[in-house]
Amino acid sequence: MKKTEFLELLKDALEIENVILTEETVFAEIDGYDSMGVMSIIALADEHFEVKFSSEQLKSMTSVKRLMELLGYEKFED
């Protein structure tokens, strides 16, 4: 998947507008990001990547970059 495509998908899942997501984005810094957002990411990972997280992985998932690593960074292209 193209990185830009993924960032769009993520933005839709998080139901956020007016925010530019990049690999460097830290989730906690997104205005309005809360537990519902985390649930959306868990659902997205399972649905689109068939990736399920352990509790430890979930706790480490603080940034877009880290999320992409957990999903498998090799799956993304520029």
Binding site: D34, S35, M36, V38, M39, I42, A43, D46, E47, K52, F53, S55, L58
Partner: protein, 352 residues
């Protein structure tokens, strides 16, 4: 591995009872802001719930459901061999609530009665126990009661719990059947998640003391006491995504049935977002998965039979009665079963 098939048993009837007191989530008194309330209501689908009053308990609700079922089916009380009571909000630490109910329901002293401490997976666990007994020589009828008053465990100022849980009870009569009528169960546990849904104090590891009643505030501003039910919603959702759809596939594989042959799928009513997710992942049509969460919230182990009573009365016919039930929650614990509800009488919902 707890995958099992139990033959020669049938569910004869199901009833449910909820408190008459309706709690509307939008007007619920809490420190949660109105904007947040609306967001939670939208995602979870929970508009209102039922709360008991101070004097009502789990056995009161269970008694109401049981009387309704016994009277509707017109069965002889002396024919009930076993009484099972599933709850995590029993009347007392000691004695077992099932004994109180045996007496109140005027069941004979030859009735075996015991409690099962299980949460949201409790109905399926309870059914597996009831079916196991009913399939044995000598046992003919098992009355399975599930009741919860989780409202009594909640802090009003905790966005993880205070708008989600409600009270209720159900009664199910399981009977030996002449026909094979197989039922399949998958029962599972992951105690590594013991902290995901927990009441920390009030048991015997952490008996109640003065500090149990001090409010503690977390980073999101949720305020709870150690005696309140606390839930890590994200941890729970993550666990269900990991385990629930695959458990249903495992169950159907074990039963050698395809998902297309399933007529109804009744999930524990945890939240609408979660249920929609499971249905999407299983590619199962949502019109065949009834939802009652908007009216009753999350009533733990009660939610599956409550949903059957509230949503499936007059809908289950002998030709479309193959039903998957699936519960998941504290423990962590999850369980699913596939059974035929052809001969099941569904009572009108009663209120107390």
């Amino acid at each position: 591995m707890a995958l099992l098939q139990i033959d020669n048993c049938v569910i004869k009837g199901i009833s449910a009872c909820v408190p008459a007191n309706i709690v509307d989530n939008l007007s619920f008194s809490t420190s949660i802001s109105n904007a947040d309330k609306e967001k939670i209501i939208e995602k979870t689908g929970i508009k209102e719930r039922r709360f008991v009053n101070e004097s009502q308990s789990s056995t009161d609700l269970a008694y109401c459901a049981a009387e309704n079922l016994i009277n509707s089916l017109k069965i002889d009380r002396n024919s009930i061999d076993i009484l099972l009571f599933v709850s995590q909000t029993p009347d007392y630490q000691i004695p077992t609530s099932s004994a109180i109910l045996q007496n109140r329901l005027r069941l004979p002293n030859s009735t075996a009665a015991f409690d099962i401490n299980q949460g949201c997976s409790g109905y399926v666990y309870g059914l597996s126990t009831a079916f196991s007994y009913a399939s044995q020589k000598g046992i003919n009828r098992v009355l399975l009661l599930v009741a919860e008053t989780l409202s009594k465990t909640l802090s009003p100022n905790d966005r993880n719990t205070s708008l989600l849980f409600g009270d209720g009870a159900s009664a199910t009569l399981i009977e030996k059947s002449e026909t094979e009528n197989p039922a399949w169960f998958s029962l599972n546990t992951d105690g590594a998640g013991e902290n995901a849904i927990k009441i920390n104090s009030g048991g015997f590891r952490n008996p109640v003391n003065e500090s149990s009643f001090a409010f503690e505030t977390d980073s999101e501003g949720n305020s709870t006491k150690k005696t309140n039910l606390r839930m890590d919603g994200i941890e729970v959702f993550n666990f269900t995504v990991r385990e629930v759809p695959s458990d249903i596939k495992k169950l159907l594989g074990f039963a050698e049935k395809t998902i297309d042959s399933v007529d109804w799928m009744v999930f524990h009513q945890s939240n609408k977002y979660m249920i929609d997710f499971f249905l999407k992942r299983l590619k199962f049509p949502s019109e065949k998965s009834p939802v009652s969460i908007q009216k009753f919230g999350n009533t733990s182990g009660v939610s599956i039979p409550l949903t059957i009573v509230s949503e499936l009365k007059n809908k289950i016919q002998p030709k479309n009665a193959k039903t998957v039930l699936c519960g998941y929650g504290s423990g962590l614990s999850w369980a699913s079963c596939l059974l035929d509800l052809s001969n099941c009488y569904i009572c009108e919902l009663s209120e107390l």
